[in-house]
């Protein structure tokens, strides 16, 4: 016997005569309502309880089915991933066009999408940091308008957060100056711990 075996049940009857007049449809519905409100007629019928137990057990097994299938399947091939990526249009992320001033009268600019990529790249200068979502707040299309960069970052567990945030902020600032003429007045960093994904720690300066 292994953990997947269902322990033997008393004879499982699923017809109304086994269910004290109730139908499997009723029980199925009752199960989906999480057995609330409690129906005494069903709960006090042995036949119904046996059937409900079986349905609950089935539900438990069902929850494992997808992951069992996924684990048993062949892993995703690199070629397939590339095919998916090549079907993607990049323009959906271009965002606003940020002007670059040119004495020679050219109409020059860089897209928000490209700049967000630059902000993400700053993580290379800060081991232990992984940048998530990034937003440029302010009127980026107006030269000189004050801009705040808001960035989410994941930090390796145990890394000193204040130090890392400072370095990341500096790295972002340096890169933005190389590629844009944005007047960045603030860089807000929201830190999320890598190892405990459901407990974000907020630290903005």
């Amino acid at each position: 016997m292994n953990e997947h075996d269902i322990p033997p049940l008393p004879a499982l009857g699923l017809e109304p005569q086994d269910l004290d007049g109730h139908s499997i449809e009723e029980l199925s519905d009752y199960l989906d309502a999480n057995r609330t409100p409690r129906d005494p007629a069903i709960e006090e019928s042995a036949g119904c309880r046996i059937a409900l137990d079986a349905l609950e057990r089935l539900r438990g097994i069902s929850a494992q089915l997808l992951e069992a299938d996924a684990a048993a399947a062949t892993p995703v091939e690199d070629g397939w991933v590339h095919r998916v990526l090549s079907g993607i249009a990049l323009d959906a992320r271009a965002g606003r066009r940020i002007p670059i001033l040119d004495d020679a009268g050219g109409d020059l600019g860089v897209t928000e999408g490209a700049v967000r990529g630059v902000v993400r790249a700053a993580e290379r200068d800060v081991p232990g940091a992984l940048v998530g979502r990034c937003v440029l707040e302010g009127d980026v299309m107006s030269p000189g308008a004050p801009i705040t960069v808001k960035v989410e970052v994941s930090v390796a567990y145990g890394a000193p957060i204040p130090d890392l945030v400072t370095r990341l902020r500096d790295a972002i600032s340096t890169r933005l100056r190389a590629h844009t003429e944005l007047n960045v007045v603030g860089i807000d960093v929201l830190v999320q711990d890598l190892r405990r994904p459901n407990s974000p720690t907020e630290e903005t300066r």
Binding site: N2, E67, G87
Partner: protein
């Protein structure tokens, strides 16, 4: 996650929320991470709705292309897994509808061909494998209702909408599916 993936993909160990957030911003590498992470589950899910491996690959690919376009609209990037599965079932059902010209599809009874490998069939007493087998033998509409409910977490109303059925039909199909599965699994003992 195997070792090669970890060393070549710095995002491989990162939380869904961070990876999806980056992908929403346009980072194609992060999107690649999502593809590798969730494609197996999405394929498994699509395969339970649709018979035939070739269609499954197309469905999941379509799902990812839609996901890329709609990712910026996902309010909580942490919920990307369930969101991707939703898109997958929608695409799979679109395929089903396209391949069924007739309106009345109550009991299309062509069972799916047995997909489990011989070794898995030999272990049919194990609960999950038995369930897989039983699912494969269900009439199509029962299976679809069941999959959307149990694997997709859809409400009756959502299932009704997706499959173009009345809620009472959904209720009935679901009950019959569960009954058939239980009976089949009993027979494996």
């Amino acid at each position: 996650m195997d070792r090669t993936e970890r060393s070549s993909d710095p995002l491989a160990g990162a939380d869904d929320r961070i990876v999806a957030g980056r992908a929403a911003d346009g980072d194609t590498a992060a999107f690649g991470t999502l593809v590798r992470r969730f494609a197996p589950t999405m394929r498994a899910y699509a395969a339970r709705i649709l018979p035939g491996t070739l269609e499954v690959d197309d469905v999941v690919q379509d799902a990812f292309i839609t996901a890329w376009a709609q990712l910026p609209d996902l309010d909580d990037p942490g919920r990307v897994r369930g969101w991707l599965l939703r898109i997958t079932s929608r695409k799979a059902i679109d395929r089903l509808r396209a391949s069924r010209p007739h309106a009345d599809v109550t009991e299309i009874d062509a069972p799916a061909p047995a997909r489990e490998s011989p070794s898995r069939r030999a272990e049919a007493r194990a609960g999950v494998a038995a369930l897989g087998e039983a699912l494969g033998r269900l009439p199509a509409q029962q299976r679809e209702c069941w999959v959307l409910r149990e694997l997709g977490g859809y409400s009756y109303d959502d299932i009704a909408q997706e499959l173009d059925l009345s809620v009472s039909t959904v209720r009935g199909q679901l009950a019959r599916a569960r009954k058939h599965i239980l009976v089949e699994m009993e027979q494996w003992r």
